[in-house]
């Protein structure tokens, strides 16, 4: 994050960049598998994301990046393994070694602390930008409308859209919509933010605004898992970079190190295509 990175010289230490962060592990993904029918989409993923870490995931289409993110906030159920956020087992309750499905209420409760930003924004089209942002705080956390509004205006200001509060999503550009979507997720004060290709649906000239908002967010100490094809973002903002292919983590480490000096042939090939 904001810590200068010149102290890392040893290539062997590249993978330990995240370990050097002060934070405790926030997300622990342990040997996670996911099947869609007989299709083995995630094949034993292990990852640890520490508090305040920006973890960037790259990989070819169909490699399971979105599926992994969706498993972290229970939009998909994992088939094997464990995911913990802090000490909470995600998606299940462990009663004497036997896992039990969570009730919808418990699932909703776990999701409160995890914000998600989608490739296609998914703003509520019948609500203005401001209404989009106050929806969850007022409905889920029962925050008063007035204080939710104040907070929402601060967030809109933070993403540079204070004067677009009363616009409907259809009246906003893609980049503006995505920034509202980020503000909407932040309104729930999550401790973890998931980004699934947040800039892939945007015109090139709109990408920068969204990335800047994400950079600011990273600077403020937010823990983020970012699936993206923006290698520049990974290099500049990422604390760790993970390359996934065909449902496995091929390699993971310090972004600059990994980009400059990929260890695996598949990583090399992928990077040569996107750089």
């Amino acid at each position: 994050m904001s810590t200068p990175m010149n102290d890392i010289t040893d290539p062997q230490a590249a993978g330990t960049r995240a370990d050097s962060l002060a934070g405790n592990p926030l997300v622990r993904v342990q040997d996670v598998h996911k099947f869609f029918g007989s299709h083995h989409v995630l094949c034993g993923i292990d990852m640890t994301i520490r508090e305040g870490e920006v973890s960037v995931i790259i990989g070819p289409s169909g490699s399971g990046k979105s599926t992994l993110l969706r498993c972290v906030n229970m939009l998909e159920t994992i088939s094997a393994g464990r995911i913990y956020v802090r000490e909470d087992l995600i998606g299940f309750k462990d009663i004497k070694g036997q896992l039990h499905d969570l009730t919808p209420k418990q699932v909703a409760f776990q999701r409160r602390d995890i914000g998600m930003v989608f490739q296609r924004f998914n703003l509520f089209p019948h609500r203005t930008a401001l209404q989009n942002i106050i929806e969850a705080p007022t409905q889920v956390k029962r925050v008063s409308k007035a204080s939710a509004r104040t907070k929402a205006m601060e967030l809109l200001d933070r993403v540079g859209l204070a004067d677009h509060a009363d616009h409907y999503p259809a009246q906003l550009s893609g980049g503006q919509q995505q920034r509202v979507a980020i503000a909407r997720a932040l309104a729930m004060e999550p401790e973890l933010m998931l980004f699934d290709e947040p800039t892939s649906a945007l015109d090139p000239e709109l990408v920068g605004d969204v990335l800047n908002v994400m950079k600011d967010l990273a600077k403020s100490g937010m823990t983020m898992i970012v699936v993206t094809h923006e290698i520049g973002f990974a290099r500049e903002v990422g604390d760790t970079l993970t390359f996934m292919d065909a449902g496995v983590v091929v390699e993971s480490g310090d972004p600059r190190e990994l980009i400059a000096n990929p260890q695996h042939a598949r990583t090399k090939e992928f990077l040569s295509r996107v750089l």
């Binding site: 909703a108 019948h126 609500r127 203005t128 929806e135 009363d166 009246q171 997720a185 729930m188």
Partner: protein
């Protein structure tokens, strides 16, 4: 730079093109006007229409009461049907297989039997279950015998129409819910909202855009289906009243005109209502007004042309 500025302040020569002429439209219009004239002439001069009788009965007390009952039946059975349809559509999308099954069977049954048959059946419930139908179980003392005799067929008619309609509306609502992008559910759930809340606050309002037009259609259909309640038998609705007057005075045509007139009036009122409901649910999607403009933007705009700036200032509100 200055060239550009000049271009902006001068303003362009607006195109004043001669529009394409449509002589065919004029010819067609004349022909239609002629036909209309002949039609009106025949309506007025043909004594068999008995316009004086139409005039006499248009505002007849019985007719007006008939309108009242017809309206009441339409509104109440539609309300019943809409409430049931929302429940049925939600049940159909539920994770609970029992709910899905019940909803499917309901639609299958009520859509699969004629409404006339159902109305006759509800009229005969009293025969099947005399005890239940003997009176309104709570506070029957409040009603005299006469009103009870009136309320029972009315309830039967309302139930018959409402339950039958709920099956059709359930399908309309289901189609509406399905028309909403799955990303909406995911986004709302990712924010920690419960499914029921998402359905009610996020999915249904968007689905209403798709649901309202066919529901308006169904409401107008219901208005006219109420004429079948003689099957119950419920005998106070507009169609029954006008046709019994017609039988009494041996003049069916003027009373048909009276009934048709009032059905048309009610339909028109319903269509106006539908227009406003559609506008409400189209918010943010249909007929988007230009985005409200902030003062700062108006100032930026002011650097284009004075006219444009004035326009934005007038149109823009905070």
């Amino acid at each position: 730079m200055t060239a550009l500025a000049n271009k902006r302040t001068e303003g362009p020569d607006l195109i004043k093109a001669v529009p394409v002429r449509h002589p065919g439209r004029w010819v067609g219009g004349v022909i239609i006007a002629l036909c209309l004239f002949l039609l009106v002439q025949s309506l007025v001069t043909n004594q068999n229409f008995h316009w004086d009788t139409v005039g006499t009965y248009l505002m007849d007390v019985l007719v007006i009461q008939g309108i009242g009952w017809t309206l009441l039946l339409t509104v109440l059975s539609m309300v019943l049907a809409i409430v049931l349809a929302i429940i049925l559509a939600f049940m159909r999308q539920s994770d609970n297989p029992l709910f899905r099954y019940i909803s499917w069977v309901w639609v299958w049954f009520f859509r699969g039997t004629p409404v006339y048959t159902q109305l006759v059946f509800w009229g005969l419930v009293a025969v099947l279950y005399p005890k239940i139908a003997a009176g309104v179980p709570w506070g029957p003392e409040l009603f005299s015998f006469n009103t009870q005799d009136l309320i029972r067929p009315f309830l039967a008619a309302m139930l018959g129409l409402g339950l039958n309609e709920s099956a059709y509306l359930a399908e309309i609502f289901r189609a509406g819910l399905k028309s909403v992008d799955a990303g909406q559910m995911e986004a709302a759930e990712a924010l920690g909202m419960r499914r029921s809340k998402v359905m009610w606050r996020i999915i249904l309002p968007q689905a209403m855009r798709v649901i309202v037009p066919p529901t308006g259609n169904e409401t107008i259909g219901m208005l006219k289906t109420t004429s079948l309640v003689l099957a119950v038998p419920f005998t106070l609705d507009l169609t029954f009243v006008t046709s019994s007057i017609a039988n009494r005075i041996y003049l069916p045509i003027p009373l048909l005109i009276v009934a048709a007139f009032w059905y048309l009036v009610i339909t028109s009122v319903l269509m106006v209502g539908q227009h406003f409901i559609e506008r409400h649910y189209g918010k943010g999607v249909d007929n988007l007004v230009p985005a409200p403009v902030k003062a700062t933007q108006a100032v930026t705009a002011a650097h284009t042309t004075p006219e444009a700036a004035a326009a934005t200032e007038e149109g823009g509100h905070v």
